[in-house]
């Protein structure tokens, strides 16, 4: 698969995205630009607002960032989450997800005076550490949402081609079952 983060954007797409970013009030990072630009996922989000989609993308990349393999944004995890929420989730699950995003945004605005997506990276990370622990101003319910979000991001990432085959070990046809193999420094977890 193509990793869109590695691809140059066509100038017209870049312009269009910058306009979209401006509409959402976002300073778009290169990764976010690239991910939102994935041509196979072009078009508006299916369930989320553009701002919710962008926030999902920022959170996803903070949870599973780009390292020596692509991160969540590069595989379009935010688009996958938007699609699966639209296609496969109940109305209650959809509302719960959006309420969780709203809550993160509200805390960011209250604590830093800016939307979460445009905060400096250390500030984002610090807020997520508190969220991950359910620490003030976040609650146990907020932490529960973050766990759910981590589950969604992991699902979207590790069922993507890069997540399954480049980050983890993917063996669609193992050929047989071996009960005991030794773990080495190179061993990766099975994707499926």
């Amino acid at each position: 698969m193509m990793d869109m983060a590695d691809d140059a954007l066509a100038p017209s797409r870049r312009t269009a995205l910058l306009q979209l970013g401006a509409l959402c009030g976002l300073a778009l990072s290169g990764d976010l630009l690239a991910a939102v630009a994935r041509p196979r996922k072009a078009g508006p989000p299916e369930l989320l607002t553009p701002a919710e989609l962008a926030l999902t993308g920022v959170l996803a990349e903070l949870i599973i960032p780009r390292t020596d393999t692509p991160g969540a944004l590069a595989v379009g995890a935010h688009r996958t989450i938007d699609h699966l929420l639209h296609a496969c989730a109940t109305a209650t699950q959809q509302a719960g997800y959006r309420a969780g995003l709203t809550r993160i945004e509200a805390v960011a605005l209250a604590q830093a005076g800016k939307p979460f997506a445009v905060l400096p990276s250390p500030r984002q990370t610090a807020l997520l550490h508190r969220l991950d622990a359910g620490a003030d101003p976040f609650t146990a319910a907020d932490r529960e949402f973050f766990r759910q979000l981590k589950g969604y991001v992991a699902f979207a990432y590790y069922t993507s081609e890069a997540g399954a085959t480049r980050e983890l070990a993917y063996l669609p046809v193992p050929g047989g079952f071996t009960g005991s193999v030794k773990v080495t420094r190179a061993t990766r977890a099975w994707a499926i």
Partner: protein
């Protein structure tokens, strides 16, 4: 060999030797046995054709190529699969093999749900069954006689043992010989491996809990096929563990991979698909079944097929529904129902209770491939001594694995370190879950709904089934005992899990049995010891409807053995001119 599709028919003036209703695990076996014994046989299937390999639409699909990554669209699930969606095997890769609940609904009493999981295609549920294959023993065949629940089985293990061998050799069961009285050995291919943690815990278990034993689950997957299996056109199991999507290797037993090719090879099989059996035709002058009336699922046209014997293999509840709908002056409450037992004594298996925990150490051990079975602890309750709180017993199954990326949802952290942690094999865990016997009870029953009909005008089946106090007590013991076992094996952070039987209604084990039970006495049972109607001697029911009790093992292998035995008997009786 000619393709299966060249044997499809619609209209036929032929009087066949035999009609087999259904094409799943038992229908396929009936077709194979009857044709190989010389009978011109018509297999009648209500669903659409499914060609081996060609129609396995969900097979060989990487998750990122699926529109919903394996999840089913919520609207589609809510409108068309509102019952089937509860089945563990139902997903985006397999949904085409499940009954459409909008087209083929059923009814249940207010407040007493039942999950009826159905296939609706050539091959039936043999395409997506769980493949666990176990013999029953005399502990099971004598249970009704000993504790008085249900009628005495008219057969014992010795009657069925050679037929278990007969079907095992053809099916291909991978499993170990253990010498256990509660779970007789059979004709096995080599068993699948334990992983390192399972092996260590098995050794502890076998020493600590003898004579109970932890064994590898016996499964109808060809770990090491024999020459005979290769000759069937089947290949070795690839350990994908995606069997329910269909397997082009033919590595697990299904109608398509195994019994249908054998039946087709005889040249004596014909197949009518999209043919919904309305009723069995009965001739009061001769007291014989003479054929079946069908409704064309696509055109609504009606037609008849005729034969010298009729074998019902439509699935437990569908076979009974056909008999209930086959009324006449001689049988006003359903064909072969002079006893009044038809529709009664429905059982499923208890499911959803167990325990799990974490295993320390073994960081250097992993496994490769996805084993299509799991460790299994055969029944130990009420074998040597009577438990004070409940009758009968259960098996435990489960095993060990290492956490994968799914643990992201409950592990702390995020970012680079989090991603690096998920890249490596995670902590080991071990789980055990139970499968227990429900008592056969008269009040657990099916009937035809007095007014509601499906789009073909067929009356809906009304299923009224609930658990007894014995069932509830057993469910509690499953969770308690699984937790005790894990703790004694040194598993850490052991947690019990128990879905109360009210949260998890019957049906979801998909081991529904009974409703046309076998028995010795025509006054209290529908079928005799040959799966033959007491009332109408050329009518046979060989699927799960015939079971007089449910035992604790997965039942499919027993259905197959009963079917092969019944068909051999039917052919003998036919040739002798007695039916």
């Amino acid at each position: 060999m000619e393709p299966v599709s060249s044997f499809y028919i619609k209209e036929s003036a032929t009087r066949f030797d035999a009609i087999v209703v259904g094409s799943g695990i038992t229908g396929g076996w009936a077709a194979k046995e009857l044709t190989e014994r010389g009978l011109k046989t018509l297999m009648v299937e209500r669903g659409r054709p499914v060609e081996h390999g060609v129609d396995y639409l969900g097979e060989n699909r990487d998750p990122w190529t699926m529109p919903n990554r394996g999840q089913v669209d919520a609207t589609e699930a809510a409108e068309q699969f509102f019952n089937q969606r509860l089945c563990y095997a139902f997903d985006e890769h397999t949904k085409q093999f499940f009954n459409n609940d909008r087209d083929m609904p059923y009814s249940t009493p207010e407040g007493r749900p039942f999950s009826w999981i159905r296939g609706n295609q050539l091959g039936g549920k043999s395409l997506m069954w769980a493949r666990q294959s176990y013999r029953w023993s005399d502990l099971d065949f004598e249970a009704n006689l000993k504790d008085g629940h249900g009628v005495d089985w008219p057969i014992r293990y010795a009657d069925l043992a050679p037929w278990y061998s007969h079907v095992e050799r053809h099916v291909g069961i991978s499993g170990g010989s253990e010498g256990l009285s509660v779970l007789p050995d059979g004709e096995f291919l080599p068993a699948f491996d334990f992983n390192a943690v399972e092996l260590a815990l098995k050794q502890k278990f076998d020493a600590r809990f003898a004579p109970a034993r932890m064994i590898m689950g016996r499964t109808a997957n060809l770990r090491t096929p024999s020459e005979a299996h290769l000759a069937q056109g089947r290949g070795q199991c690839q350990a994908r563990h995606q069997c329910q999507r269909g397997c082009s290797f033919g590595a697990y037993f299904s109608t398509q991979s195994s019994t249908l090719p054998a039946a087709v090879k005889t040249g004596r099989l014909r197949i009518a698909t999209n043919a919904i059996v309305h009723s069995v035709i009965y001739d009061p002058a001769t007291n014989r079944a003479t054929g079946v009336r069908v409704i064309d699922a696509e055109t609504m046209a009606t037609r008849e097929y005729h034969a010298r014997i009729v074998v019902l293999c439509a699935s437990t509840l569908a076979s009974t529904a056909i008999l209930l709908n086959s009324t006449s002056a001689a049988f006003p409450t359903g064909l072969a129902n002079s006893s009044g037992a038809l529709g009664h004594y429905l059982t499923d298996h208890l499911f959803g209770a167990g325990a799990h925990g974490r295993v320390e150490g073994f960081e250097d051990d992993y496994y490769q491939g996805r084993r299509p079975t799991a460790p299994y602890i055969p029944r130990f309750r009420n074998v040597l001594e009577q438990h004070p709180r409940f009758l009968r017993g259960y098996a435990l199954s489960g095993g060990a694995g290492r956490d994968g990326w799914q643990s992201a949802a409950w592990k702390p952290g995020f970012g680079k370190d989090f991603k690096a942690m998920l890249r490596r094999p995670g902590a080991w865990h071990f789980s055990l879950g139970g499968q227990g016997e429900m008592l056969p009870r008269y009040e657990n029953m099916v009937s035809l709904h007095p007014t509601r009909k499906d789009k073909w005008g067929m009356p809906l089946l009304h299923i009224d089934c609930s658990y007894s106090e014995n069932d509830r007590r057993m469910q509690e013991d499953i969770a308690d005992t699984a937790a005790t076992i894990l703790e004694e094996l040194g598993v850490k952070d052991v947690k019990k899990h128990i879905r109360t039987l009210d949260e998890w209604p019957p049906g979801l084990s998909i081991h529904e049995m009974g409703t046309a039970r076998m028995g010795r006495d025509p006054k209290t049972s529908v079928l005799n010891g040959w799966n033959q109607s007491h009332d109408v001697p050329n009518l046979f029911v060989t699927d799960g409807a015939s079971m007089a009790s449910g035992a604790w093992q997965n039942p499919s292998l027993t259905f197959m053995a009963l079917t092969a035995r019944a068909c051999a008997h039917a052919v003998e009786e036919l040739k002798a001119g007695r039916i």
